[in-house]
């Protein structure tokens, strides 16, 4: 058995290769590497957007154009308007202006389009990608289709980067900074919120994640990466015209991300490399083969894309990694949990017996269907209330009404004495209500630890920038320590670093309870927590809930397992056809004729 390499060593070897490349390779390959670097930055943004966040943009080319044209205009224009005069002439100031400008544009476009569900966003990106491209070509001060020339080279400490191998170092510095920043970000509280986007908005919002904000963050970051790439491009080429910023290039960027492996930051580099080299090669080969000139390589790329999505949807990176590891083992990176981290502050639980949740005459109509009719219930601190009823009785709808996923047609929901109707699940979660889902909503490829840490999201506060530059490590340690504590509390300690998707369904349900507990709630909503559990596991779950009750937590439980419910809960509410048909102590409810009729069929 060979000893495993540390990932750091692999990275160092890669950087060393990059450093010596210009010394040994001919100029042609350096130019190629420059382009790969430039494209990789844009593809990196798309990895963040598409592979991680589940959003897609075909319009990244337009953001590259924004960066390139901003710097081209600022560094070549003789007469800048007075308020912009300070930024004239210097590429570095132009980069700053370009980033700010791109940020503003991306924010506005994002505001307009990010709220839209899945497929509208990519369509909108096609639309604005085209619009911006046409604008580059039609605006007189941008030089029309001929573009702008005479862009100065970038100078670093007074040294002008004129040659390909000089600007090479700057480009790859930017690429590595981008990769590092992105992977830092993804491995943080904000990053988990971003990765949670793919698990659906309902779960993320219920854990207190502002999903609209997370989407905006990755959209702007992707735009900024593209803008920086455009800035470098403009100063490398020394001229700009609209052609390299069109929609077809935007599509090519997406191809790079998908072919490389859209879920991995390094996939962007692989994809950019493969597509750029292939393009170079095919552009030589195909016109000779077909006897006419034209961009025939797109045929090949189109077919390649379809094949990748049919046969290897994860892209090339995972294949490369597993191939590499077969020959040279690389140690897996495992998150260390710092047991000594200062515990997070805890919420003061309301006094036992005080009313936590009060639903009054809640009615929810879906067209002609009355899913909940005049439902009232009350949960107190330090009690477990079971909501039972046959399938289709409206229990889950009721859950959605009180947790803010849905808004009742009429009626009132009070949580801690405050009306929460129409408030949204994120606000309600912040007030101290947490929940699990009937259909488990986990992020299957993330570890158990990270999944539970999403629950602790709102107990941290550090933002995107501090995460990207690792200035929030003490808070991160506290969040992870809290997550680890909850995992051990529910008895999943041995699975802490396993992928959540590898757990049995029953364990996944328990994991959801740990995630809910990590948010430090005073009221816990559990949707069928015992489904799929074995006898011993059910016993352990019952013990856990009893312990939580003793600590003063309120629990609202939807469950079908009557043995489990009747031996555990304090009170029971029974629903049928959206209405409450009985309420009381478990033993009374069990004898109630209406309940017996509902479950066993009544006598007419």
């Amino acid at each position: 058995m060979k000893t495993a390499l540390s990932p750091r060593l692999v990275l160092a070897a890669f950087v060393a290769l990059l450093l010596v490349a210009p010394l040994v390779l001919p100029a042609f390959y350096i130019t190629l590497l420059n382009y790969i670097g430039l494209y990789a930055m844009v593809a990196l943004g798309l990895v963040l957007l598409t592979g991680v966040g589940g959003l897609t943009s075909f319009g990244q080319g337009a953001f590259v154009g924004l960066g390139a044209y901003t710097t081209a205009l600022l560094t070549t224009s003789a007469e800048l308007p007075g308020w912009l005069g300070w930024a004239g002439g210097s590429p570095w100031l132009a980069l700053l202006v370009g980033l700010v400008f791109t940020c503003v544009v991306a924010f506005l476009i994002g505001k307009l389009t990010l709220r839209l569900s899945g497929h509208y966003l990519p369509l909108a990106t096609i639309a604005w990608g085209l619009s911006l491209y046409f604008l580059f070509g039609t605006m007189a001060f941008l030089g029309g289709h001929t573009g702008l020339t005479g862009i100065p080279p970038i100078s670093v400490f007074g040294y002008e980067l004129r040659q390909g191998e000089e600007v090479y170092y700057l480009i790859w510095l930017f690429v590595l900074a981008g990769v590092l920043t992105t992977s830092n970000l993804l491995d943080s509280r904000e990053g988990r919120a971003i990765r949670a986007l793919k698990g659906g908005m309902v779960m993320a919002e219920a854990m207190g994640v502002d999903t609209a904000r997370s989407r905006m963050v990755i959209f702007i970051l992707a735009a900024l990466l593209a803008c920086a790439s455009g800035w470098l491009y403009a100063h490398m080429q020394r001229f700009v015209n609209p052609t390299p910023f069109g929609l077809h290039i935007g599509i090519e960027y997406l191809f790079m991300a998908v072919v490389g492996g859209a879920a991995h930051v390094w996939g962007a580099l692989v994809g950019a490399g493969v597509i750029t080299v292939l393009k170079q090669w095919l552009q030589d080969l195909l016109p000779k083969l077909f006897g006419t000139s034209g961009n025939f390589e797109v045929i090949f790329f189109g077919v390649l894309m379809v094949l990748v999505l049919h046969k290897a949807r994860g892209g090339l990176w995972p294949i490369l990694v597993s191939g590499f590891k077969r020959f040279i083992p690389v140690a897996a990176q495992r998150r260390a949990v710092d047991r000594d981290a200062v515990a997070l502050p805890r919420r003061e639980l309301p006094a036992a017996g005080s009313v936590l949740l009060e639903a009054k005459a809640v009615t929810r109509r879906f067209g002609g269907l009355l899913a909940n009719n005049n439902m009232s219930l009350e949960v107190r601190a330090g009690e477990i209330l079971a909501l039972i009823g046959p399938n289709g009785a409206g229990k889950s709808t009721m859950f959605n009404q009180v947790s803010g996923v849905d808004t009742p047609t009429s009626g009132e929901v009070l949580f801690l004495g405050e009306s929460v109707v129409g408030k949204g699940s994120r606000t309600i979660a912040r007030m101290g209500m947490s929940r699990t889902f009937q259909h488990v909503r986990l992020l299957p490829t993330m570890s158990v630890l990270e999944n539970v840490a999403i629950g602790a999201h709102m107990r941290g506060s550090s933002g995107v920038l501090s995460a990207a530059w690792r200035m929030e490590r003490s808070e991160e340690a506290r969040l992870l320590a809290e997550a680890a504590r909850q995992i051990e509390r529910v008895g999943l300690g041995e699975h802490m670093f396993d992928e959540a998707g590898s757990l049995a369904l029953g364990q996944q349900r328990i994991l959801e309870i740990a995630r809910a507990l990590a948010s430090d709630p005073c009221l816990l909503l559990l949707d069928e927590p015992a489904a799929g559990l074995r006898y011993k596991e059910k016993e352990a779950l019952g013990d856990l809930l009893r312990k939580l009750r003793a600590e003063g937590m309120g629990v609202l439980l939807v469950e079908h397992d009557m043995d489990f419910v009747m031996g555990l809960v304090d009170r029971v509410v029974v629903m049928e056809f959206g209405e409450k048909i009985a309420e009381g102590l478990p033993e009374d409810v069990q004898r109630d004729p209406a309940v017996l009729a509902a479950y066993l069929g009544g006598e007419d």
Partner: protein, 345 residues
């Protein structure tokens, strides 16, 4: 601008709008049944128009080779599938449909004096070549990943679009073509002169829309497609194979695409890559209809057509920008009016 010009622009707008309406209907249909956002719709417009132009110029249309290639690929996929399932007796039919048919079409194109045929026969030939590419494309590209997310299907669509544009350049060259108008007649209504082509376009669109309405309302296959659009699993349980629904939908979409190409190519010069922008305008219309409502999509199409023709008069340089920026207020309106709870998977 005087009234006269406004009338002419309005006529242009409605003519183009009628074609966008057809495309929008096809896009809504494809999305509803298969969840595919059918970006290559525009390529069928260009392929249809240019194949017709080739036939009119007495040139063998290279799209026929694509038909053969796609047919061979489908035969390979279906043939292997049949062999694996131990159903070798299906092979002759698979081969006849997917390889025999393209060979027959190629023979027809080789033997007939293409330029001397009437326009109607030429159009029919173009349809025989291009329309079957629709269901073949579904079989090769979409059917193996029919259960993938909308996003993956969309990326596949874009990839197919890119490949088809490249093939279009290979088949037709960079030159643009116009086909002869379906009618040279002109009708004078007061100060307005209406061309026969306009009447053809509007009438053909209306006829096609009515035919589609009858198809969906009165025929078993139409109802099967509607059922699949409403609930794929439910339809499958009722014995409607999703693959059949997909192929049928793509057949209709390709048919609509080719007809749109035939209708538009006498008005606008069509290049190998013209389809994309034409298709996208259909998309803007379809989005106005929320990718769900046919009447709203048709209304949106006329709106797009009018906006396009009037903006080409007032600000011709910004014509495309204006049309595609229209999508933004529409999307904002959509996002403000639609509030939906995420569905359980």
């Amino acid at each position: 601008m005087d009234f006269q010009i406004a009338l002419i622009l309005g006529q242009d707008g409605i003519t183009n709008g009628a074609i966008y309406a057809l495309l929008a209907l096809a896009l809504v249909l494809v999305f509803a049944v298969t969840r595919v956002i059918f970006i290559p719709q525009g390529e069928f417009v260009a392929y249809g128009a240019l194949t017709l132009a080739m036939i009119g110029n007495n040139v063998f249309p290279a799209t026929a080779w694509l038909l053969l290639g796609a047919g061979v690929a489908v035969a390979a996929l279906d043939g292997l599938g049949a062999l694996r399932a131990g159903q070798a007796r299906k092979l002759p039919r698979v081969l006849a449909v997917n390889v025999g048919y393209p060979l027959a079409v190629i023979a027809l194109l080789r033997l007939l004096p293409l330029a001397e045929l009437g326009l109607a026969v030429q159009i029919l030939l173009a349809m025989l070549v291009v329309v079957p590419l629709g269901p073949m494309m579904y079989r090769i590209v979409y059917q193996p990943i029919a259960e993938a997310t909308v996003l993956v299907l969309l990326i596949v669509s874009v990839a197919s679009h890119v490949a088809m544009v490249g093939l279009g350049l290979l088949f037709f060259g960079a030159e643009g073509y116009r086909t002869p108008p379906l009618s040279d007649a002109r009708f004078d209504l007061g100060s307005l002169s209406i061309s026969g082509q306009t009447i053809w376009v509007v009438a053909a669109s209306i006829v096609l829309i009515v035919a589609l309405a009858l198809f969906f309302g009165r025929t078993i296959y139409g109802k099967a497609l509607r059922a699949t659009a409403i609930n794929r699993n439910g339809a499958r349980l009722m014995g409607i194979p999703p693959a059949l629904a997909g192929k049928l939908t793509f057949l209709l979409a390709a048919l609509i695409g080719v007809l749109s190409g035939v209708l538009i190519s006498p008005i606008t010069t069509i290049y190998y890559d013209s389809g994309f922008l034409i298709g996208l305008k259909g998309f803007v219309a379809a989005i106005i209809g929320g990718l769900a409502s046919y009447p709203l999509a048709a209304f949106g199409a006329v709106l797009v057509g009018l906006l396009e023709s009037f903006s080409s008069f007032w600000a011709s340089a910004y014509k495309e920008v204006l049309v595609f920026t229209l999508i933004i207020p529409v999307l904002v309106w959509r996002s403000l009016t639609s509030h939906h709870v995420e569905e359980e998977e």
